[in-house]
Homo-oligomer: 261 residues x 2
DNA sequence: CGCTAGGTTGAATACGCTCAAAGATCGTGG
DNA sequence: CCACGATCTTTGAGCGTATTCAACCTAGCG
């Protein structure tokens, strides 16, 4: 891990960008959030930096790069639980759950801001509205995870894969990491398999089928969603990040618009 | 729904009981928590009272009875996401996620305290430590759910079922709803199947096998865990509710003790 | 008594797994 | 610049878990 010291305008930090997009932040709120960004470190690709059953004392904000949270099973297999993308907070419960029941690894080279869990207490007292925002973030995460995880129960491998890619796309779009319908994903098929609970062989065949059906295109970590509408139908995808403009509406149409544009 | 007005000592409310067990509450804290218990209503069995995609404005604390959170799929199947037992809070994110992306039904006759999500703001300002406790509760729920859901990916039907029963047992034990290794569960095999993502036929065969292996006994909604140690091994079960006394220890032995006694 | 909801069992099928082997791609060192 | 190993991807074949369809059983209740 190397320490860095960039000079980047406040609005460019992914966490701020994300919060701002969901509901505008005041300058005071941004100032308080920036306190969490005071120390940034760089972590090389493929380094495990939070260990299952270890006592952790720090929270991280992903500024660039990807990380993932996973469990190791007795049979040697591993289950990837979720991916941390730019703007995401790693171990948001560290304050109250000092012991990790999972591991976290960097996937690509990772720039993260580090802050002490206690900082959240200061943050909440300084800007109570931010506490609610934090809660809201947890709420989204919960909703997203519920849908992904329950999907494992009834969605087919084909649908699950479509679902997962759409979810990645939507989250990356929030922090402007997409170009058209294309995004960069530093994932191997083995990792996808570990995420969706499939064997690597079946994962490969499923991707092949999605490609043959002209729904996606993947080459050298570049994922292109060729037919969003059909993909959403296949996956029975439901958008999770409702923007400010959508708060009042609840039609399927608006939910689809969020990801379609 | 019928309104009631019981006169029960503070310490007897399941939520208080649960919080107290995890970490002792001060009298002031109990007083603040009791504000959430001011209005209690009764809901008949098998009534859906939170609808998917509806805008909800209330939170509930389960005082007695069971409820479940579920999704309906396009093919008519339904997925049960989690069960609400005495002491649980229904829709803890209502404050920040006004729109439900799931439905909630009562399973048995339900006694619930109703409070406005806004009450959480007052609660946090009055007793900041309770906010952390609330966060901690969400953290447990997260941890529990992560393990349950990821289990669907790699555990067999047999293991999943063992796991689920152990989880129910531990949660019910926290609020003193178990007798020895026996507990009452108002569930049908269809509901179990919907929870674990299995067909009812396979659910039935799986239960049969657990019975034949003398791990469990089920008759008329009474579940008896015949061999906890073996069941924990089979399920690779990990305890989630770490008591005050266990905070410092992290050995498997202590985790097992929590459920064993 | 017959209806209904829930539980049990059999048989055929399908989705996804394991084992196995062969291509691709990429970085590294000779 | 090519050779080599390592990692990732692709494909084939056989198998097993869980599914669907179907029937029958049981208990509770009007």
């Amino acid at each position: 891990m190397v320490e860095t010291n960039h000079h980047i305008p406040n609005e460019e930090w992914p966490l701020i960008k994300k919060f701002n997009l969901l509901q505008s932040l005041s300058h005071d709120e941004i100032d308080v959030l920036m306190k969490l960004h005071e120390q940034e470190i760089i972590i090389d690709a493929n380094k495990t930096f939070i260990y299952q059953k270890s006592v952790r004392r720090k929270c991280f904000i992903v500024n660039s790069g990807w990380a993932c949270r996973f469990l190791n099973h007795s049979n040697g297999a591993r289950q990837i639980i979720e991916y941390y993308l730019p703007g995401d907070i790693i171990s948001p419960f560290a304050l109250v759950m000092p012991k990790a029941n999972y591991s976290v690894s960097s996937i690509s080279c990772l720039h993260v801001s580090v802050f002490k869990p206690d900082a959240l207490i200061d943050l909440c007292t300084a800007q109570p509205k931010l506490a609610l925002r934090y809660l809201a973030m947890l709420g989204w995460q919960d909703a997203m995870f519920v849908d992904l995880a329950t999907g494992i129960g009834w969605r087919t491998a084909y649908q699950r894969t479509a679902y997962f890619l759409l979810n990645l796309f939507e989250r990356l779009k929030l922090v402007e990491k997409t170009v058209g319908n294309t995004f960069f994903a530093p994932l191997t098929q083995q990792m996808l398999a570990d995420t969706l609970g499939l064997s690597i062989v079946h994962m490969n065949r499923t991707i092949k089928k999605l490609r043959e059906d002209e729904l996606i295109k993947i080459e050298s970590n570049l994922v292109k969603l060729l037919d969003l509408v059909r993909l959403i139908q296949v996956a029975e995808y439901q958008s999770f990040y409702w923007r400010k403009t959508q708060q009042s509406s609840s039609t399927g149409r608006h939910q689809r618009d969020a990801i379609l544009h």
